[in-house]
């Protein structure tokens, strides 16, 4: 396209309109194109058009989600106040902060699972260390279709392989997460990755291009043609031609990332870096305009100074490349060499590509030729937003009103339990986390497999706990309640290891928001989540929205994944979910009264894994949640752990009470004798996923103290039985229904995924 050719030219004078098919192909609609023309007062150049298309995509510009995200308090305050940073930082005392963020890499992983997942890890790590925080742990939340389908097995294997490839090499422990399997994710897997970093509060780095005259430095890898328009690709539905999008997927180089982590942290220590931002979606375009917009400055850069991986790249390609392992650093003038030397020492490029200006504009030169001249804020902060129509989906009434009383009791409860334990969503994920280095940095004090991972903070008595949670089926059956349960369950998982919730990062995965039913699901989920996060005092501090998770066949379940951070004041006072040997008393700490516990309304099997795994049904309403009751249960368990009363604590969730008990037995390699009371059939007593319940075990002599705490918190506790022998035996209303050897439970639970993947 036309751009004027005057050496050091001051204005771009493109007058030819861009044909609609060109801007539409890039993802802009007619009104958005007109808006660009208005902002510039002329037609854009091709390079400018590309910059607007990618920055105004949903992926970068949040044009659909932003109005709804304002329901999150911290987000609203940030938008109205000082602006958003790359990842929220949470003060944990002792002068330390935790940077935390979660991000999706769903679309790339759908077409190239290994590199898609790997670069997802790389991207989220850069979000963390760009704040000056050393990444100390990662997690991931994955969703796939059924494993009977070879394509889904392929996606599962290679997503896990890609995360391992990248995460293991960079030396950041991958300490856990979740993996779920549902047909709706077939062909559209979810790959959400979370990372946390540790930073001294007084050393947080900011993504601001301050100080006109300061040089702008590009550090890290060379720039290639990979990933051009990746963000735009993430903003459309997957279809039959998605395979051809493979070149939109970036390639990861974890070795360079590891060097980039060390070099960046070392360079920040010099104090000569005034601003820094990672390059992810939209590459140089995004990092230049965002840092300038935040600082109220402008920037002049020359794409010819960008070290390239291949010859003949156009300014358009250089500005939009999503090549990995790159950062943009704004350096204090006069100290370029000191900073560059550190990156060079680590074998990385450090090239000055331009400087900060005071005119609020991004000037992009191609040598002497000016190819773009746009207001930074118009790209970074003024993406058009839309208030989309919402409409309650038709399916809801149908699935919610399903007559659950028509479902028969199983013939054999033992078989039902074994089948549930072998259901891949419930089964042990050892096959997955064994492939991740979860111990490097030697701070992981609760290893994967428990309710939450625990990372000690060196130099303090403290530890942090991390969990990710979301039951997509619940959100499908009732988006508002499902999202609240995701938050409640995350907080419950933290309580089980002795941690108090501090903050949430979220990853909101939905279908096409331009469909009113999908946008309704989105809005309801965010409403539920925002309310629950405030209630559990764990505000959403960062996050990511991923729309267009659909194939021509169907949209995914609404899946708002919650990543929750908790704090343990004294790392010695922590707990895990495995039973610890013979003779302990097993107690149910429940938000409900014994009467509630026995009732059928509360113990509905609606939305349960049992209905799914045994009867192939995703129907009913998710379990009832009363947040006040839930919180009291957490308080009881937290106080009991603080007084070192408990030997184990494990939350009741997928698969119900029987599954919780079986897992405690399998992990602790000890049996249990249990007696339950129910008014509505053994299946409900065993498998209903009633909320606000935690199973704990403790020596009998400490039971009195636990009772005191429970009474104080107005929570009922029920002795269910004790750990004993090598079998799990459960009687309901004195009728024996479960009697299985731990060995057999273990075989079902531990071998299910390896068998599927290896045999």
């Amino acid at each position: 396209m036309s751009a004027n050719r005057e050496p050091g030219g001051r204005t771009v004078q493109a007058t030819l309109p861009i044909p609609p098919e060109v801007y539409r192909e890039m993802g802009l609609n007619d009104a958005e194109y007109q808006r660009v023309v208005e902002v510039l007062g002329r037609h854009p150049t091709y390079t400018e058009l590309g910059m607007y298309a990618v920055m105004w995509s949903e992926h970068c510009g949040y044009k659909f989600s932003r109005p709804i995200l304002k329901l999150f308090r911290k987000y609203r305050e940030a938008i109205e106040g000082s602006g958003l940073e790359n990842a929220g930082v949470i003060d944990i005392g002792d002068g330390f902060g935790i940077a935390m963020k979660m991000e999706s890499h769903n679309h790339p992983s759908a077409v190239e699972p290994f590199q898609g997942a790997a670069t997802g890890v790389g991207g989220i790590l850069r979000d963390i260390f760009t704040m000056g925080a050393r990444p100390i742990a990662s997690m991931n939340s994955l969703r796939f279709g059924n494993l009977d389908d070879p394509r889904n097995r392929y996606l599962f294997e290679h997503v896990v392989g890609g995360i391992a490839f990248y995460g293991n090499c960079v030396g950041v422990p991958t300490v856990g997460g979740e993996v779920c399997f549902e047909e709706c994710y077939s062909g559209n897997p979810l790959v959400n990755v979370l990372s946390v970093g540790l930073v001294r509060i007084d050393e947080i780095a900011f993504a601001r291009a301050c100080g006109p005259g300061n040089p702008v430095m590009l550090v890290g890898s060379r720039t290639g043609r990979d990933g051009i328009h990746g963000a735009t690709f993430a903003s459309v539905e997957l279809g039959p031609d998605s395979e051809s999008r493979r070149p939109n997927v970036q390639i990861g180089d974890p070795f360079t990332e590891k060097c980039l982590i060390e070099a960046t942290l070392e360079a920040l220590k010099t104090g000569y870096i005034v601003g820094i931002q990672d390059m992810g979606a939209a590459g140089i375009t995004c990092s230049t305009c965002e840092t300038a917009a935040k600082a109220g400055t402008g920037m002049r850069i020359d794409v010819r100074k960008v070290p390239l991986r291949e010859e003949g790249m156009t300014p358009y390609e250089i500005m939009l490349s999503e090549s990995q392992e790159r950062m943009l650093a704004i350096v204090q003038k006069g100290h370029e060499d000191e900073v560059a030397r550190i990156f060079t020492k680590w074998g990385l490029n450090a090239s000055i590509i331009g400087e900060v200006t005071d005119d609020g504009l991004i000037h992009v030169y191609d040598g002497n030729e000016l190819v773009a001249q746009v207001p930074a804020k118009s790209l970074a902060e003024e993406a058009p937003t839309y208030v989309l129509d919402t409409e309650e989906p038709e399916y809801l009434k149908r699935v919610q009103s399903y007559d659950l009383s028509s479902i028969p009791e199983p013939d054999d409860y033992n078989q039902a339990l074994l089948k549930l334990l072998a259901s891949p969503t419930i089964a042990s994920k050892e096959w997955v986390y064994e492939q991740y280095d979860h111990m490097v940095q030697t701070n992981t004090v609760v290893l994967p497999g428990s309710d939450a991972a625990v990372i000690r903070i060196r130099g303090t008595k403290k530890a942090i706990a991390l969990t990710t949670d979301c039951n997509g089926r619940y959100c499908y059956l009732d988006p508002y309640l499902g999202a609240q349960i995701a938050v409640a369950e995350a907080a419950r998982n933290l309580a089980c290891c002795g941690a108090k919730p501090l903050a949430v990062t979220d990853c909101l995965n939905f279908g096409n928001p331009e469909k009113p039913e999908v946008f309704w699901q989105f809005r309801r989920c965010v409403e539920g989540m925002a309310e629950a996060c405030e209630f559990f005092e764990a505000p959403v501090v960062s996050g990511n929205v991923s729309f267009y998770n659909e194939t021509p066949d169907a949209a995914i379940y609404p899946t708002p994944v919650v990543g929750m951070l908790g704090l343990i004041e004294d790392v010695q006072k922590r707990c895990t979910s495995a039973f610890k040997g013979e003779g302990d008393v097993i107690v149910l700490v429940s938000g409900w009264t014994a009467e509630d516990e026995a009732s059928c309304d509360l113990n509905s099997l609606g939305g349960s894994e049992y209905l799914k795994a045994i009867h192939g049904l995703a129907v009913g309403k998710p379990p009832v949640l009363v947040m006040e009751k839930e919180k009291r249960v957490h308080r009881v368990v937290l106080r009991a752990i603080d007084q070192m009363l408990l030997n184990s604590a494990h939350d009741c969730s997928d698969g119900g009470l029987a599954t919780t008990l079986a897992e405690g037995c399998i992990m602790g390699d000890v049996g249990a004798q249990i007696s339950l009371v129910s008014n509505c059939g053994p299946a409900a007593a065993l498998f209903a996923e009633t909320q606000s319940r935690i199973v704990v075990s403790l020596p009998a002599e400490k039971l009195g103290k636990l009772r005191e705490i429970a009474e104080d918190e107005q929570v009922e506790i029920t002795v269910l039985g004790r750990t004993h022998g090598d079998k799990l035996e459960i009687a309901v209303n004195d009728e024996p229904v479960i009697n299985v050897k731990i060995m057999d439970l273990k075989e079902a639970w531990c071998r299910s995924i390896p068998r599927t993947m290896e045999d």
Binding site: N168, G171, T256, K258, D437, V440
Partner: protein, 229 residues
């Protein structure tokens, strides 16, 4: 007495080894950059785990050519103690400071887990505080940990008592099931002929505090410290 922990670009257990020596063993320790060519002043050099230079070619294959490896060779020739852990073991094999090679795990997957190893040699500078047959609980974390050597080398290792550790079950039985990666003869760690260079796949620096699940790795480091003092 002073320890040195070598830092290759891509090392990622360097800091863990450093903390283990400084904070747990309470001994003096420095990082040694891979371009260093002088190891004067050190008594024991640790080659840590990680992915030196990315290990995109073959584990340890690039690192052996780095400047510091010449210095390590001289240091070993002079009798200095050298221990390679995980990637460090791979590098020592590539540099022919130890015999044999480390191949991809027979599972073809990365494996990170706590497991058990049996002490086979209780007189070496690295294990003399253990007793023969003692079972240590130490984690592994590797993709290429399958130790391989020719039968005659294996015979030599056995005859010269140069096998340090073997993978075993919790009761100390060396079984096929307890072998996590297909290593020949369940070998988890070996010595050179002079007895001053050791390589092991398990990570003793990850098992130095009760808080982390085991303190058995301390025995390895304390053996070194006592031998040197």
């Amino acid at each position: 007495m002073k320890f040195g922990v070598i830092q290759f670009p891509g090392s990622n257990c360097d800091q863990d080894a450093y903390y283990a020596i400084r904070d747990v063993l309470q001994q003096p320790v420095d990082y040694i950059w891979h371009q260093e060519s002088n190891l004067a002043g050190y008594d024991c050099v640790i080659l840590p785990g990680g992915f030196s230079y990315g290990d995109y070619l073959r584990t340890g294959a690039i690192a052996r050519f780095s400047p510091v490896m010449g210095a390590v060779q001289e240091f070993a020739d002079r009798g200095g103690l050298v221990i390679g852990i995980c990637n460090g073991f791979q590098i020592l094999c590539e540099a022919h400071l130890l015999p044999g090679a480390l191949l991809a795990n027979n599972t073809l997957r990365f494996r990170c887990k706590y497991l058990h190893v049996r002490v086979e040699n209780d007189t070496s500078s690295f294990t003399h505080l253990c007793y023969r047959g003692q079972v240590l609980r130490i984690p592994i974390a590797h993709h290429s940990g399958c130790y391989y050597c020719e039968p005659d080398v294996l015979k030599e290792l056995e005859e010269q008592d140069r096998i340090l550790l073997r993978y075993c079950d919790r009761d100390g039985n060396v079984t096929e099931q307890s072998n996590p990666n297909g290593s020949v003869s369940n070998i988890a760690g070996i010595l050179n002929e002079q007895g001053n260079v050791a390589g092991m796949m398990p990570h003793p620096e990850r098992a130095v505090e009760d808080l982390l699940g085991s303190e058995d790795g301390v025995l390895i480091f304390r053996s070194i410290v006592e031998r040197l003092s």
